[in-house]
């Protein structure tokens, strides 16, 4: 039977890619007095709900979605958390 899942997807720049926006935010924090903040990397957060037969099937499909569209493997990494939910959650449309 089809189950509904909710995924929280995090897309982050690969360590070898410079993040000038992160550097700018770090400088802002330093101006605020937070001199102890050492590294900032800015990424993206995506929430989605998905219907799938099994958790494995959902994970496989999410890998494909992330690899082909949500993240660009040349510059980004991704990871996601997945939970089964009773009804499709409204993630704001």
């Amino acid at each position: 039977m089809t189950q509904n899942y909710q995924a929280q997807i995090y897309v982050t720049l690969r360590p070898s890619v410079l993040d000038p926006a992160g550097t700018a935010v770090k400088s802002g924090l330093s101006h605020m007095g937070h001199h102890n903040v050492e590294q900032i990397r800015i990424g993206k957060y995506v929430e989605l709900t998905i219907a799938a037969d099994t958790e494995d099937a959902a994970r496989q499909q999410l890998d494909q979605i992330c690899d082909q569209l949500l993240a660009n493997p040349v510059i980004e990494n991704y990871r996601f958390d997945l939970q089964q939910v009773s009804t499709p959650l409204n993630v704001g449309s």
């Binding site: 890619v17 410079l18 700018a24 569209l69 949500l70 660009n72 040349v74 510059i75």
Partner: protein
């Protein structure tokens, strides 16, 4: 030479390209809506600058899945010519037609300027009307134009002489000061291994009509034209 200019929602340099190929060079040119996929009559597909699909998610990321890009990938696989300018370059990297990626400019600013570029190689249709090492001036206008690729990819690009344009000083020197966006190896434009696909951040179409103050870009289109005239 039959030219096809791709139009995505958000493209904004499409008409500038048409002005060059049709208006200045008198070549049959048609605009191709992103939902079309028939390119059978086209010699050169040009993916123009702009903000395809609002540049949502990443520049060029969503455009990659449009019907016209699927057809453009097949067009390129047949060895036919594809040129991506600015956002078009970003689309071609996202589509896997060119290696690497274009990321946020080093200084975070949208850079709108005219910059000197050195022409690195002139044995391809794109650049055969230039001289090797010649310094030309073209406009750039982008926020995400910093070329990135991993070390292995960069090495293979250099080993295979796939860098066609590099940011440089007015004297032609490649130094960090003349790098407007932080691109690795000062890369402004690259081609694929076969040489039939070119992507570049500078805008040759904005430097073709003398009334715009520069014509260094026109020779790129003229080179393409004479190469196709030779083939057909």
């Amino acid at each position: 030479m039959n030219v096809g200019v791709v139009v995505f929602p958000g493209s904004n340099c499409d008409r500038d390209v048409v002005w060059v190929t049709q208006g200045l060079l008198n070549q049959p040119t048609r605009m191709i809506w992103h939902e079309d996929s028939d390119l059978s009559d086209i010699d050169v597909v040009i993916v123009p600058g702009g903000f395809s699909y609002g540049d949502y998610l990443r520049c060029g990321a969503i455009a990659r899945f449009s019907p016209v890009m699927q057809a453009t990938i097949k067009h390129a696989e047949q060895g036919k010519f594809v040129l991506g300018i600015c956002n078009g370059f970003q689309v071609l990297t996202e589509a896997g037609l060119l290696p690497g990626a274009l990321v946020r400019n080093r200084d975070l600013h949208f850079v709108c300027d005219r910059v000197p570029l050195s022409v690195e190689r002139t044995d391809l249709p794109w650049t055969n009307h230039y001289r090797t090492g010649e310094v030309i001036t073209l406009p750039i206008a982008h926020g995400e134009g910093s070329y990135y690729a991993d070390a292995d990819t960069l090495k293979s690009l250099e080993d295979n002489h796939q860098v066609l344009f590099r940011y440089c000083s007015a004297e032609g020197k490649s130094d960090p000061l003349s790098n407007p966006n932080g691109s690795l190896n000062q890369i402004a434009g690259i081609c694929n291994h076969q040489g039939n696909v070119l992507g570049m951040m500078p805008h040759p179409e904005r430097a073709s009509d003398p009334s715009l103050g520069g014509t260094d870009g026109l020779r790129l289109f003229e080179g393409m034209l004479s190469a196709i005239a030779t083939i057909s």
